[in-house]
Subunit: 356 residues, 2 copies
């Protein structure tokens, strides 16, 4: 693999290291997705969503689609957040119109005791093939981000058996049998470390941990059942590989109240959702970590003029000296976003000159 | 109406005024609900949910059910959050297994321009009859809380046409046509003021405004599109009626980052969800308002021992001198809660003696 220093555009990696940049880098969560007609066409050719995820060629194709349209500063591996529990044997499936479901939700003590961390090169070889294929296709243009769900977020899906509004099953376990939940989280943490390390070994130049559901926890439970395991992951992944440092980002949806603790996890960057004032976040933690975010994805539904104005507000709120800022949405892009609105956003961010 | 001073148990009202109390008062959001078999039986007799809401006798019956079982310190009017938009002509309906839906979502400019605030004694007379009936049935035992959704929360349902995961329609309006959203919010604010004042005139001794969806807004939009209108409501409702002060509570789900601004709204109490540390919240705003909350509703799914321990943690976090604290959950009680677990919670809270 060519080292990151030979990247044509390494602004994303430089921002995460809080080094100077040519412009504030931008990429978008779920940038390869249903708002793009070319993505929908590929998905239709693939037949279903899991085939799209499990085919390295399809995964590479859709990963590159947004980069062909927009001047984005990073690519992110196209995959599903639930590949790890699927490889643990829970049986991931998608029913039309529904979200993801597991055929075998994890609630019985015997099943939890039998849980083991899968070898990523064996059970998740299709992801590693996708990483290698995408990295080669990118040809040093922009860095490739690998990712995983956080242990608590994965456990939510594993225990609930799919998405949930109230998380009754996992909350019952958390308060009633915390030993069982800790066992799930410990095994999943080992699985995620091995999974992210394999992605790095195959070419991922940064990694992001999505803690989509940590924000549904009570404040003390958040530290104990979500943040502690993410801290173990950050400590357990390759920080240097092939002569390059590999930065890590924690995306903490609903975590605006806990930024100080998240910043102390050892991560290089925090992904902020749109409810947090990025100026305030920078004051609280900006000296220790980079910040990624945090435009309301709803802004992209409005108009190019409003998008430019709202993007500028985020950039100005981050403030003078734009180092340490990766522009992103505060959550995944909506499928209802007109693709030309993303052009307006990327141009606005790149044209912005921070007052220093 | 007998004044509140002749209530047999006025601890709830005293706590909201930050006066001394005999014990920390407790009530539970959605305390009249599906976790109670007697509620399910009444609902079955009523036939459907809207009939239950619209019949003053049924509404009174289910309001009193949790008070017959538990030593709760307040009753809350049983009604639906969407009665006001229904009275505005949007056509509320509930489909089996589904949440609420409006037959006529509010998205067209002409419909928004035609929106008017309904006379609560005319179009919402069934709610006023329920308030009078319940107040009479309570016979001075505990105070009765009236309530409404916040303008932004109501607007979410009105514009989306029902519940939503991503709020695409209202976000598009907020960023693309804020003038239309402001008109909806202004009319709804007038409707809510009239609605809450009518509830107070008919016997409600405190009022609560549920801002369930304000937490889905970006931080600046929260102040402009949700909090500003709640401030107008607090300023517009009867603060004194029949010789008594009427306290108001704002329940700010997902609002933990904005407590200082919420406390400055003029409200008497803030309802906290379970993600906020109540000790921290008290430090931030406790000198200005009372705090209500904030046990994770998931705790009630565990066991009486765990419930007692977790309730004590909230009480101890609130800290010495328990005045100014109303114990509650951080969100509505789960339908999967075993009813005897609520007994354990209420007893734990009442037996607790704060260190002073």
């Amino acid at each position: 693999m060519s080292p990151a220093s030979r990247l044509k555009n390494d602004n994303f990696l430089r921002a995460l290291r809080r080094q100077t940049v040519d412009h504030t880098p931008i990429w978008l969560m779920r940038q390869a997705g249903r708002y793009l007609p070319e993505y929908c066409a590929t998905r239709q050719r693939a037949g279903d969503f899991l085939t799209l995820c499990k085919s390295p060629d399809f995964a590479c194709e859709v990963t590159l689609q947004p980069l062909a349209r927009y001047d984005l500063d990073a690519a992110i591996l196209f995959s599903d957040i639930l590949t790890v529990p699927d490889a643990m044997g829970l049986g991931l499936c998608f029913e039309a119109g529904d979200g993801p479901r597991f055929e075998r939700p994890l609630r019985e003590e015997w099943a939890i005791n039998n849980l083991t961390a899968p070898d990523p090169y064996d059970r998740l070889g299709y992801v590693m093939d996708a990483v290698r294929t995408i990295r080669k296709a990118l040809d040093g243009s922009v860095p490739l981000i690998g990712f995983s769900g956080s242990p608590y977020t994965l456990a939510c899906y594993m225990v609930e058996g799919g998405g949930s509004k109230d998380f009754c099953h996992i909350k019952r376990m958390l308060y009633g049998r915390p030993d069982l939940l800790r066992r799930i989280l410990a095994v999943t943490t080992q699985a995620v470390i091995a999974y992210l390390n394999a992605q790095i070994e195959c070419g991922a130049q940064a990694v992001m941990i999505f803690d989509t559901w940590g924000g549904s926890l009570a404040h003390t439970a958040y530290v104990e059942f979500s943040l502690a395991y993410m801290r173990d992951i950050v400590a357990g992944i390759h920080r240097n590989w092939a002569g390059e440092t590999i930065p890590s980002i924690l995306f903490a949806k609903g975590g605006g109240q806990w930024l100080e603790q998240i910043a102390a996890s050892g991560c290089d960057g925090i992904g902020l959702d749109w409810t947090t004032d990025i100026a305030d976040a920078r004051r609280r933690v900006g000296g220790r970590v980079a910040l990624q975010g945090n435009l309301d994805p709803g802004v992209l539904l409005s108009s190019p003029e409003v998008i430019a104005a709202e993007a500028r507000k985020v950039l100005e709120a981050f403030g003078a000296g734009n180092t340490g800022h990766v522009f992103n949405l505060g959550h995944g892009i909506s499928r209802f976003t007109p693709p030309e609105h993303v052009t307006a956003l990327v141009e606005s961010v790149h044209q912005y000159k921070a007052r220093s």
